[in-house]
């Protein structure tokens, strides 16, 4: 039997397969553009591919570093290695959440959770669907009595 996701004291991170899907998404525009760049010259094509691989690697590293923790009053996101970013979102400021899945994400058993607040929005890509459901439900339950 599948164990329910325990929100208390746990942190949510993208799964390895979720990260792989993110890398595929990032690689697709480069793969489409690459033949046109190779058309300009083999050297230019190689440079473009190298730069795009670097970009995909950067996205993979950033996805690896993403951690979302749910505290009693806040949702905190940590991401980035060389350029660390910490986002503190009061739970009562969250107005809505959006969970979306593509066929690839469904295969990977992951989803993308988008969190909307009046001032900004945050994205948790590639996290397990069960965790996204639990986080979304917890956040919106808190927001009911707000404003």
């Amino acid at each position: 039997m599948e164990q329910p996701f325990d929100l208390a004291g746990s942190a949510s991170t993208p799964t390895p397969r979720g990260r792989a899907v993110l890398c595929v998404w990032a690689a697709v525009p480069g793969a489409v553009a690459a033949p046109f760049v190779f058309w300009q010259g083999f050297g230019w094509g190689c440079i473009f591919c190298a730069l795009w691989c670097l970009l995909v690697f950067g996205i993979w590293v950033r996805a690896c570093s993403l951690v979302a923790t749910l505290d009693p009053c806040t949702l905190t996101l940590y991401l980035g290695v060389a350029f660390p970013v910490e986002q503190v979102i009061p739970r009562n400021s969250i107005t809505s959440t959006l969970i979306f899945r593509t066929p690839l994400l469904r295969l990977a058993g992951a989803c993308v959770l988008v969190i909307f607040t009046p001032g900004m929005w945050a994205v948790l890509p590639g996290i397990p669907l069960q965790e996204a459901d639990a986080i979304g439900a917890a956040l919106l339950a808190d927001g009911e009595d707000l404003l």
Binding site: P90, G119, L147
Partner: protein
């Protein structure tokens, strides 16, 4: 409370549409440029007249098709009913601010421009209505009633604006005198130096051009000051029923109302003039409202007035200047002023041997940049964010003003960002994301201070229903 029933907008609503189509009238006139004949001009004017009639008809149809009503539950409904029908609803309880503006033309026509600022929507989604004066006043009283409980007639604002205006007038006269003199000097110098044609042209026009550019800039600044001064005439601020309101202005009469429990933040701007005159303007941000005009101005020693009008307002802690505060701090903070000063100093050095007559004019912006640098250095020492007395406060240097901000809203998000260099220095940038997608960044503060601000949200639930602003 009873509903208002469906009501029409003021005819000025249609004029707003007509104003947006002014450029269309130029289209028929284009052919006159090519033909250059009276016949073509007559045809173009006839076409313009036909276009005007058509647009006037469309405006009339728009005016008849749109209406508004306030129902008994305090919900404002904006209707459109022509071919398709739609209705936009605005809940009175979700409004953060209401603004009624009455420019001279509107006053002559008996109209008011009313803007409603919802608390959770972005700035572009504020609702602007064109109503009759009586309807606007009634709607404001129903949406955000503000009975006078605490009244205040600020005098500092007029004084501040008048002094700035006087200083600006004097500097403008001085610059005009310098500019008139530059024209003669440059011509004389050109004749004496016998430079080649291009250099002579530059030598002739550069000093005079610089002088006139500075003069025009000062005149424009003066116009904006005059506008600020006209806003302070017959100005009054009052508080009542959980609403803070202000009304005043000479040419443009403006009334603003803010729901205190929807305020995002309040800030005191310490500009050079404000410090000299010891009159401090207080600005408010509420929902998607973020105005450039202060709500009121208080004099030094009148802090209890701020406490009366905004009881929850806290100033950031006043810390002593120590070298510890700037150790490891990014020098990017003083880069804009430093770079500009270096540029003008370089120009001065070049002008000292190439074009000595331009030196006084280049010295003016160089002096302004030096002053700017002094203020940025102050920001280097003072900028920071701290929780104080149950509120989040921060100091932020922008141009020559030091902004002392107190955050009221419980729905403000924080973002702490670090560069690799900042990681080694234990420093971070802290960004406040307000409702309405407004952002404010405090730069290169100690990481411990940034974490203390984050912990402020984690430790306490700032949204305490019993805690009223």
């Amino acid at each position: 409370m009873t509903g208002t029933g469906r009501r029409r907008y003021h005819p000025f609503f249609a004029l707003r549409f007509m104003r947006r189509t002014l450029l269309l009238y130029l289209v028929p006139l284009v052919q006159v440029l090519f033909a250059r004949e009276w016949q073509a001009l007559q045809t173009a004017l006839a076409q313009d007249l036909a276009l005007f009639c058509l647009l006037a008809l469309i405006s009339y149809v728009m005016l008849r098709a749109s209406s508004w009503e306030l129902d008994a539950d305090g919900v404002l409904r904006l209707h459109w009913n022509l071919v398709i029908s739609f209705e936009r609803t605005v809940q009175a309880s979700q409004l953060a601010a209401v603004q009624i503006e009455r420019p001279v033309a509107y006053r002559l026509g008996g109209a008011s421009r009313m803007t409603l600022y919802p608390s959770l929507l972005p700035k572009g989604q504020a609702v602007t209505l064109c109503l009759t004066r009586r309807d606007a006043q009634m709607l404001a009283d129903r949406l955000m009633p503000a009975p006078v409980e605490e009244n205040y007639h600020p005098a500092g604002g007029e004084r501040l604006a008048l002094v700035l205006l006087g200083a600006n007038s004097l500097s403008t006269l001085l610059l005009i005198w310098v500019a008139l003199g530059q024209g003669d000097n440059a011509a004389e110098q050109m004749a004496l130096a016998q430079l080649d044609q291009a250099a002579a042209w530059v030598a002739h026009w550069l000093p005079a051009g610089l002088a006139w550019a500075l003069t025009v800039w000062t005149i424009l600044f003066g116009v904006s000051l005059l506008r600020s001064f006209s806003h302070t005439v017959r100005y009054t601020v009052w508080r009542g029923n959980g609403v803070l309101a202000s009304r005043g202005g000479l040419l443009l009469r403006v009334e603003r109302r803010f729901r205190l429990d929807r305020l995002t933040c309040a800030e005191v701007r310490l500009s050079p003039a404000a410090r000299l005159l010891r009159c401090y303007p207080v600005y408010l941000t509420a929902g998607c409202y973020s105005g450039d005009d202060p709500l009121f101005v208080y004099r030094a020693g009148q802090e209890e007035l701020v406490q009366r009008l905004l009881p929850a307002f806290r100033l950031p802690p006043n810390r002593r200047f120590t070298l510890e505060q700037v150790r490891g701090r990014s020098l990017v903070l003083i880069a804009p002023a430093g770079g500009s000063l270096a540029f003008f100093v370089l120009l001065l050095l070049v002008a000292s041997w190439a074009l000595p007559s331009a030196m006084p004019l280049l010295a003016l912006p160089a002096a302004a940049c030096a002053l700017w640098l002094v203020f940025e250095v102050e920001g280097l020492f003072r900028e920071g964010a701290w929780p104080a007395d149950g509120r989040l406060t921060f100091l932020r240097q922008r141009r020559m003003s030091l902004r002392c901000v107190c955050v009221f809203s419980p729905v403000v998000c924080l973002t702490i960002t670090q560069s690799p260099w900042a990681v080694t220095q234990n420093r971070a940038n802290l960004t406040f994301a307000y409702p309405g997608h407004l952002h404010e960044r405090v730069r290169s503060i100690p990481l411990s201070d940034a974490r203390a601000c984050a912990a402020f949200f984690e430790r306490n639930d700032p949204h305490d229903p019993n805690d009223s602003v």
